[in-house]
Every structure is written in C-alpha cells, then in structure tokens.
C-alpha cells in the first residue's frame, strides 16, 4: 500500500492495475516545433488505454516514440513485461519490436500488399523463424527443425486468421483485400509477433458500424485472452467510451486529462479542448466587429454545396 502512495500522481492508473508501460517526462521536438511537451502517464497490464485528443495533439508522434520510429528528445519510456524491464528510448527502432515485443499498426495501413495474407503473418514471426533456420544456413538444407518451426508459425497465423475471419482468403494477395479486412489483417499481423503491448493507431478509421462493432469485440478478446496491454489512438468517442479502461487526453502535445472514461468525459479541460473556449472576449474589438458583421446565417445555408 505504501508503494502506491509513492507513485507520482501523473503515473497513477485509475484501476490500480500493475503498470506495463511507463512514460515519464516525454518531450519530442522537431526543430522549433514541440510535438510532445513533458507528457507522463502509465498504461496498465491487461487494460485498454486510449489516447485521445484533437488533430495535431501529438498522438501519433507519441506512438512513434514508443515504437522507436523517433528517438525522444527528453524522457524515459519503461516497459515491464514477462519479468524483464526495457528502456525503450535507448533501443534501436526494430529492436523494440524484436526484444521488447512492442507491436503496432499504422494509421495508413502498411501491409506487404504483393505478398499473400498468410505470408504477411509469417513475416511477422521473422526473428523466431530466423533462429530456427540457423540464420538461413541450416534451413537451406532442411536441417535443424526449421520445418517444424514453420508449421508452428503457420498454426499461429491460422489461429489469428480465424480470429479476424480471413482464413478463406489466406492465399490471396494482401493488397487485394477490402479496406476493413486490411485493418483486421494488420492487427493479426501485429499479434503474430507475440506482443507484450499492442499499439493501435486509429484502428476504427474508415470502418462501417458493423465492422467497428466487430473490432471492439476483437480488441476485448485480445485483452481478455492474451493478457497484454493495448494502447489505442482513436477519434471515435463511442469506441473509446465503450472499450477503454483508462483514457489519456493530449492537446497541443500536453497531457490535459488522465483517468477513467467517465472522469475524462466530464473533465472541463477536455471539454474546453474539444469544444473551444469562449474566446471572443480575448479578441481585439475590431475583429469581433468584423466577425459579427460578416456572419449571416442565410448565406451560409444557401451556400452549402461550396463548403
């Protein structure tokens, strides 16, 4: 209990779950632009942590720091999983996936489109298969149990294909799949690296309501059956409110709220960020005048097609 009291307030996980990923004082600068400014939070094991915020709030940048595509300017990223501790900010991009098993999906889907659906999932198990093939040397001659390992890899792949409903399409090119199926395949591929944490960048973008609902079920299934943490960037508030256990709100690179979905929804900071402040008072009077002069509801209505 006294351990809990020693945790700084910004790292508290509302449900009291064990922390999986701890982000401390993360700052990311691009030249003069500060994309993320001193953000700290913790994501719990076995929980879905949603990161929300208006466009340009720094959500994807945060993901890129966690998954090693950017090296943070300042800050510490600690991942504790499977009895090991990884300092992610010190690791090379691909090693974060290789060693710490941090998996991710992309906002604009990135599949190997000229390779088959199954191959996409086999490539995800590259490092294990490389070892089994004796770094290609013994594998070339069919020695060293590579075949057995490849069969196991195929089994894992078909397990996930089944979960995302793509078993029948396993042998067609990933690029020929419809949009929603590509999104699901990307999640399946990420799961094939046996992740400790799965980072999803707007997985519901562009899905229709049925697909979106199925996605929620899939994410809940992953959370419950596989005991990993999920980090989720999402715009769709209904998805966030429905499935997440913990919500972090970013605005202009700063964390403005952190708590349960219910808490965040009623946090005045969040409402202000999304709906905007009453700003007219701060504007110079002549601009206020201009705005009120130009505003004519009828003209806007009749002009709808042009917007």
């Amino acid at each position: 209990m006294n351990q809990v009291s020693s945790i700084p307030p910004e790292l508290v996980i509302p449900s009291g779950a064990e922390p999986l990923l701890t982000v401390e004082h993360l700052t990311m600068r691009f030249g003069g632009l500060i994309a993320i400014d001193d953000v700290s939070f913790a994501a719990g094991k076995g929980e879905i942590t949603a990161i929300i915020g208006p466009n340009g709030a720094g959500k994807t940048t945060l993901f890129n720091c966690i998954t090693g595509f950017y090296t943070p300017t300042v800050g510490r990223l600690t991942l504790r999983a499977r009895g090991e501790t990884f300092l992610l900010e010190r690791m090379d991009g691909f090693r974060i996936a290789q060693k710490a098993h941090v998996a991710r999906t992309f906002q604009n889907i990135r599949l190997f489109s000229e390779m088959s659906v199954l191959e996409n999932l086999i490539v995800a198990q590259h490092n294990e298969l490389m070892k089994a093939s004796g770094y290609t040397v013994t594998g070339l001659f069919g020695l060293g149990g590579y075949r057995k390992k490849e069969r196991e890899a195929t089994d894992l792949a078909s397990y996930w294909l089944d979960k995302v409903g793509l078993t029948r399409l396993a042998d067609i090119n990933a690029g020929n799949l419809p949009y929603g199926a590509q999104r699901r395949l990307e999640i399946a591929r990420a799961m094939c690296i046996r992740p400790t944490i799965l980072c999803l960048d707007e997985p519901a973008a562009g899905l229709n309501p049925t697909e979106s609902h199925e996605l929620n079920k899939l994410l809940n299934y992953i959370k419950e059956e596989h005991d990993i943490g999920l980090l989720l960037i999402e715009h769709d508030m209904s998805v966030v409110m429905e499935i997440s256990d913990h919500v972090i709100v970013l605005d202009y690179g700063v964390k403005i709220s952190d708590g349960t979905p219910l808490y965040v929804r009623s946090d005045p900071n969040v409402i202000r960020a999304y709906l905007g402040e009453e700003e007219t008072e701060e504007l110079p009077p002549e601009i206020v005048e201009d705005i009120s002069k130009d505003y004519d509801p009828d003209s806007i209505d009749s002009d709808k097609g042009g917007v």
């Binding site: 990135r110 000229e114 399409l169 690296i193």
Partner: protein, 448 residues
C-alpha cells in the same frame, strides 16, 4: 463550319487533328537540329550535312501515329466501357503466365541440358549459348537484389569485375586453379558487397541507385589506372582454363599428366572444351536458380520481399532492415563474382573494357524485362536480349537504343515486368486459389 461535319460517331475530328499537329510540332522541334543537321569531319574541321527528308519522315510518322493512336482511344471510349474487358484480359494473362512459369521452367532446363547434343549445335551455337547463360546467371543474381529485395543496384557489373579480376589475379600471382578460385572470387565479390552495402544500405532507395552507379565507375577507374597491379587498360591475358576433375582440356598434357581426350580415349576436338564450358556455366546458373528458389521460402527471403513492399512495416515487426538488405546485396554480389570468374576463364583475357556501366544496364534490363522476381522471365529475357542481338549482329548500333526504349516501354506498360506473376511461398490451402466468387463476396462486402 457545321459541327456535325467534324464529328464521326461522336468523335471530334478537329480536336484529334489538333492533338496530332501538336505532337508533330514537338517532333519537329526534337528532330530539326539533332536529325536534320549532322556534324561531319572535313579537312578543315567540322562541317555540317543536312538530312531534311528524314526530318519530314519523322514528323509525318509522328503525326500519323498520334492520329491513329488517338482514333483508337476515342473509338474505345465511344464504345462500351472497356474497364471490364481489361480486368478479364489481365486475369487471363495472369493465368497464362502462371502456367507458363510452372511448365516453362522444366522445359527450359531440359532444352538447355540437351542443347550441345542436338544436331544443329555447332561451335557457334554452343559458344553463343554459353554467352547467353552468363547473362542468365547474372540476371538471376541481380534478381535477388532488385527483384526480391527491391534494391536498385546500378553497379552490379562492379561485382562481376571483382569476380573476374580476383580469379585472374589469384591465378597470376598465386598460381591457383579455377576450382579454388571460384569460391574465392565469390567471397571477394560478396566482401565488396558488404563493404559497399554497409554504409549505403541505410539510405533511401534512389540514393542507393546512384551510389552503386558511382561504385561501378570507381572500380572501373581503379582497374584502368592501377597499372602495376591490374595491368591497366591492357588487361590480363593467358588466364588458365578450368580442368575437368584435374584433366586438362588441351591437345597435349603437361609432363606426367593426362588430358581429357586421352583419359576417355577420344579424338582430340576443341568442341570438348566448349561443351565443357557450356555445362559449367549451365551448372553455375542452375545453382543460382535453385538457391534463389530455395531461399525465397526461407525467412530471410520472405523478409527481403517484405522489405521491398514496406520497410517501415518491417521495422515495426522487428526485422533488422540493414542486415537483411546487406545479405541480399552480398549474395547477389557473390553470384556476380562466380559469373565473373567464369567469364575470365572462358575468355582467357579480361580488361576494364568489359565492365562498363552499359553491362550493368543490360543486366538490369534483363531483370526488368523478364519480370522482377520471376526466374523464368529473367531467363527468357536474357535469351531474347543477348541471343537476339547476337542474331542481329549487323544492327549492333541500334541495340542499346532498343534496350533503352524497351526499358521505358516496359515500365510504362507493365511496371512489374512481362512475366511478373508471383506465387506465394507458403500456402494455407493446398491446391488452387480460392474460387473467384469467394474473393468477390469478401471483396465487395464492406468495401469502403
């Protein structure tokens, strides 16, 4: 003018004529100086001759060609939508290519194995076939780098040169035999590949192209200028021939040794050596082919193809991009090294002349034309491009012109090459691809 006069089945003839006239005008601009005026050497320096008829010919043919092209396009557009037909034709083409790839390979190999025994196989045929097979092997080697890993290597000939020179120099300085030098030459070339690849493979794709191009030139310049070591532009001659399990293919053997024809009780014939060289390169080429087919199904091969498709996704899956590219680069270089040492032993003479950028371009054209990643396609392209130009020797000066034009045309028409059909390296459902209605059902439902 009445508008109806200018329209034929809904086609605006005036617009087409205008379009063709513009094309003809452009052609006039392109040709009036370059084709119309030719610089010639005269006794007092350069002079000029004119070739106006050719310019007129060029302009008129562009006009007519553009007009026909536009007419065809308009007719198609005026008729029923062609989209469906195209899709169907493409699908049919894919099936043909697929069938061809599966049965074409064995037929090709069987023919290659039997070639020297066929009645028409005289000296010339076997010699040309050997020459073609060198390019088949180089094409297959480069295919690993360009076709599988998607790394555009414009200096492939440098590794070929390293292989050739390392055999020549090992034989010259250390008196090593071909069979010892062959693996050494491969290793040397692979070593150069690692040396060059390590710093530059981190770079973006198009930078890699230009750096490898530069590397190819550096190697050539060094070979040309390091006279004391490589004999410079004079080249190295008297490179030893390979032996058949220790038997020399000569008229007379050295003291205390036997020659090939003595051992097998044959009459001496120079054809023996030619046929031996032919089978040697055939085995080397087939080795390259089987190696590639096999490694495609290894994790490293799949990672190459994945890198070609999307490097960022690969990194997110924990694949080390630099090392993976480096292996492709080094293995590709190794096969060029093998081919190079074969080239040296076949010619018995090498000089930097044989390793210009044009060679790299020809090998690249073979890979591109055949279909990047397609083994059968590369072999066919090598036969067409190298064997074809061998047939039309008189048209030597048009050869590279046609190469260049062909590369552009193929890219515009089929960016992935002529026979670019890819079979998955592993299948969940053995046998045929899923029936079309399944694909259709899934592809149409929930399409965004």
């Amino acid at each position: 003018m009445n508008e109806n006069n200018n329209r034929l089945r809904g086609i605006d003839i005036t617009a087409l004529l205008k379009e063709s006239a513009i094309a003809a005008l452009v052609a006039l601009g392109l040709t009036i100086v370059m084709l119309g005026l030719r610089t010639v050497d005269t006794t007092t320096g350069l002079g000029i001759t004119t070739r106006w008829p050719l310019v007129v010919l060029a302009v008129v043919s562009v006009f007519v060609g553009r007009l026909l092209f536009a007419l065809r396009r308009e007719w198609k557009a005026a008729g029923r939508p062609v989209q469906r037909d195209l899709k169907k034709a493409e699908h049919r083409a894919a099936i043909i290519v697929q069938r061809f790839s599966t049965i074409g390979g064995p037929i090709f190999i069987a023919f290659a194995l039997a070639l020297p025994l066929l009645p028409f196989a005289d000296r010339y045929v076997v010699d040309v076939a050997t020459y073609v097979l060198i390019y088949v092997m180089l094409g297959w080697g480069l295919n690993i780098v360009v076709g599988l890993a998607g790394l555009l290597d414009l200096g492939y000939v440098a590794f070929y040169a390293v292989g050739a020179y390392s055999y020549a120099l090992f034989a010259f300085y250390f008196d090593l035999s071909f069979w010892v030098c062959l693996p050494l030459a491969g290793l040397c070339a692979a070593g150069f590949g690692v040396l060059l690849g390590f710093p530059v493979l981190r770079l973006r794709g198009d930078y890699l192209a230009i750096v490898t191009l530069g590397f190819g030139e550096i190697i050539r310049v060094i070979l040309l200028n390091w006279y004391s070591f490589t004999n410079g532009p004079d080249g190295i001659s008297g490179i030893p021939r390979p032996t058949f399990f220790g038997l020399e293919l000569k008229r007379t053997a050295a003291e205390g040794e036997q020659t090939f024809h003595q051992f097998f009780n044959l009459d001496y014939s120079t054809m023996h050596r030619l046929i031996f060289l032919y089978y040697l390169i055939l085995i080397l080429a087939l080795f390259t082919n089987f190696f590639t087919l096999r490694i495609r199904k290894m994790p490293i091969g799949r990672a190459w193809e994945a890198l070609r498709e999307d490097e960022i996704a690969c990194r997110s899956l924990g694949i080390n991009p630099t090392n993976t590219k480096l292996t492709a680069f080094a293995l590709g270089a190794m096969f060029a090294g093998f081919a190079g040492s074969f080239f040296a032993t076949r010619q018995a003479f090498i000089s930097p002349e044989s390793f210009t950028f044009i060679e790299s371009a020809v090998i690249l054209a073979i890979v591109v034309l055949g279909g990047m990643g397609s083994q059968v396609g590369v072999a066919i392209a090598a036969v067409l491009l190298i064997g074809g130009t061998e047939l039309f020797r008189g048209l030597e000066e048009y050869r590279m012109l046609a190469f260049g034009g062909l590369m552009v045309a193929i890219m515009v028409w089929r960016p992935r090459g002529l026979l670019a059909h890819r079979e998955p390296t592993i299948k969940l459902h053995s046998g045929k691809a899923p029936p079309e209605e399944v694909i259709k059902a899934v592809t149409q439902g929930g399409m965004k």
